[in-house]
Symmetry: C2
Subunit: 389 residues, 2 copies
């Protein structure tokens, strides 16, 4: 672990079937005005909305509502929430939903009292937050992004067609998060498997980079194995509590700084997907899977030993009588087979991309890179493979 690091994570996690029982006592720590932030009403169907409203009312809270937060939350929506926060003097933003809702809540938290344009300052110039931050808490209903226990916030600016993300310092993390795996039972399979690939991608972005020999690599392998194991069960039986709970907790860990400490990390797959998402509004995990396969087949030779390790430690590929290249590619093949078994879409045409979009996506993608720093032309070539997959 040659790269020095600071690790801090103050989020309190309440996990399990009775996790909501902790909401009342947590509410005592904050002021009277709570903003409920949520999506398009799924939380009403599962009864969670009524339950939370009832708890807030019993605790004598004033409730402000921000509903209709979309899958790729827009900066326009952030500004709508920020205005509500200022007008009502909101003391706590309670986000109920998946990563999009929580990301949006964090964006509102840092933007409400920002002087100047928050988009430019916080998502383009990555300035430190120097204004008042409104505490965010979350009740998670969709596993995938890990936003419930990190400072990440990905926002789409539709005006300029940019989907930018950043990880804010830990004081922007949710102060507490309530994780009940049963809340994810009614989620459509499409979204469940999209979330599954999202968590796997978070781990691979950290894994395929830099030194190969740090403790974080071993943790990532373990967590990937756990996700693969539980995903197969959950795809067959979405109400298997054990599998869904493993996936929910794996998701929280997968996009948590603790899993990738002292790694340089890659994140090019996410950069390409962000632009794919900005143009197509596709499900994040589907976009990641579609990009990952051609991306890893393109870069594996630059990190050959790590891809061999990935094949053997994560996918149990037998190495007998095979070259390193064969083993590495078999590992990626095994991942492709798993992706297909889960019903994850890997063709970006199916995700809404058109041929005309491909150069626009390639040219607007941020270049980061792990084992290999790509050119825009190479990104275009990868997108073309994903388009004809």
């Amino acid at each position: 672990m040659n790269i020095d690091f600071t690790y801090q994570n103050p989020t309190t996690i309440y996990f399990g079937k009775n996790a909501i029982d902790n909401l009342s006592s947590e509410l005592n720590n904050y002021g009277d005005t709570i903003m409920l932030a949520y999506g398009k009403g799924a939380i009403k169907k599962i009864g969670l909305y009524d339950q939370v409203i009832s708890i807030l009312e019993k605790n004598g809270k004033n409730i402000v509502e921000l509903s209709g937060i979309m899958a790729n939350p827009t900066y326009e929506k952030v500004m709508e929430g920020a205005k509500l926060v200022r007008e009502n003097n909101v003391d706590l933003i309670l986000a109920i939903g998946g990563g999009s809702v929580i990301d949006c809540a964090k964006a509102i938290s840092v933007s409400a009292y920002c002087e100047g344009d928050a988009w430019t300052r916080y998502w383009i110039q990555y300035e430190p937050v120097d204004n008042k931050i409104v505490p965010v808490a979350s009740i998670l209903t969709l596993a995938g992004t890990g936003s419930e226990m990190n400072g990440g916030s990905v926002i789409t600016n539709e005006e300029v067609k940019l989907k930018n993300g950043r990880v804010f310092p830990a004081n922007v993390n949710p102060v507490f998060s309530i994780l009940n795996p049963e809340y994810t039972f009614s989620l459509p399979t499409y979204q469940m498997v999209s979330g599954i690939f999202d968590m796997m991608s978070h781990l691979m972005e950290a894994y395929f980079s830099g030194e190969d020999d740090v403790t974080s690599d071993y943790l990532i392998e373990g967590l990937l194995r756990s996700i693969i194991h539980s995903a197969k069960i959950a795809v067959g039986n979405p109400t298997d509590y054990e599998a869904r709970s493993n996936l929910m907790w794996s998701s929280t860990l997968a996009m948590n700084p603790i899993m990738g400490l002292s790694k340089t990390q890659d994140w090019e797959v996410h950069m390409i997907e962000h632009q794919l998402g900005a143009y197509t509004d596709c499900a994040h995990g589907m976009g990641l899977a579609a990009v990952s396969l051609p991306y890893y087949r393109f870069i594996y030779k630059y990190g050959l030993d790590k891809f061999v390790r990935f094949a053997t430690q994560v996918w149990n590929v037998d190495t007998t009588g095979k070259s390193k290249d064969e083993v590495a590619l078999e590992g990626i093949d095994a991942m492709e087979q798993f992706i297909k078994e889960c019903g994850i879409v890997t063709n970006i045409k199916e995700l809404g991309a058109t041929e005309e979009m491909l150069p626009l996506i390639a040219n607007s993608t941020v270049i980061l890179g792990g084992y290999k720093v790509l050119t825009a032309d190479e990104i275009l070539a990868i997108l073309k493979v994903a388009y004809t997959a």
Copy 2:
């Protein structure tokens, strides 16, 4: 993950060669009087004592010293520190050393303002702490216990020959911990390998219990693999920074609630070792290793599938043509071979035990149990195997 849990860990970790650079800015968050708590002077030999004194003086702090904290810190020492804290109105206890020093600092923290006898209230009756807690911070010089990022505090009461431990809630955790792997370079090999088995034992205590299918089990397997890998390098070359840094961070994680969430856990090996330690004052990790081998060989059949998984996932045991019992026992054999390669002592006679002590240890051991709840006679039988190993 069928067992609901709450997870919270507010400790900030500064990790790496330059981690000490963060001490000054952290000191700003606390009052003027700092108690330095340390052991028998090893920190003076490596220059760390002078460096810390100089930083404290530059920050205008009043320094109170508590030195001579021993390997198994005594309640008497805790009382000495508690008196110093009260007399000097200490604002922060800065523990410099390994787990014993940090455990002792936490014990002083909760005991200084305790009404009544702290030993009885907090280590016998496990009462919640209802008095003022003095913040503790740490600078780690020995990897093994994980005390730098948890609420654990193991104290020996020599008067009644009891070594009792408990995990206090997260508000007793160190507020920050400074981890520079280079501080561990000058440690005698005996203590280094003792710490290595200590961290492995923490993971196995969580692993060999309850349901076999939770995310925590996969994380534990990954972390055990990392420890085994780095231990082999560190035993050959104690100043290999990469290996020592992996071991240091693995140690912090190994005894951290995050690794065993939703597991019932065992901890019988620790219970037996605590009494072995109370009678012999042996190095904790050595005692754990000596007890573990006969203990696991005795209980493996009650958790057979998990021991098979341990053998294959952690020790790469080939299963071809073997019965489950054979695979499970080969896994324990592989661990024994690793223990011997590291130079870890597995005979409790060598650790200071006498034949007369064995029934006293067995009869005073707390019975917990994972796959099998032992009787005092069974513990005695295990101790006898460890005595003639």
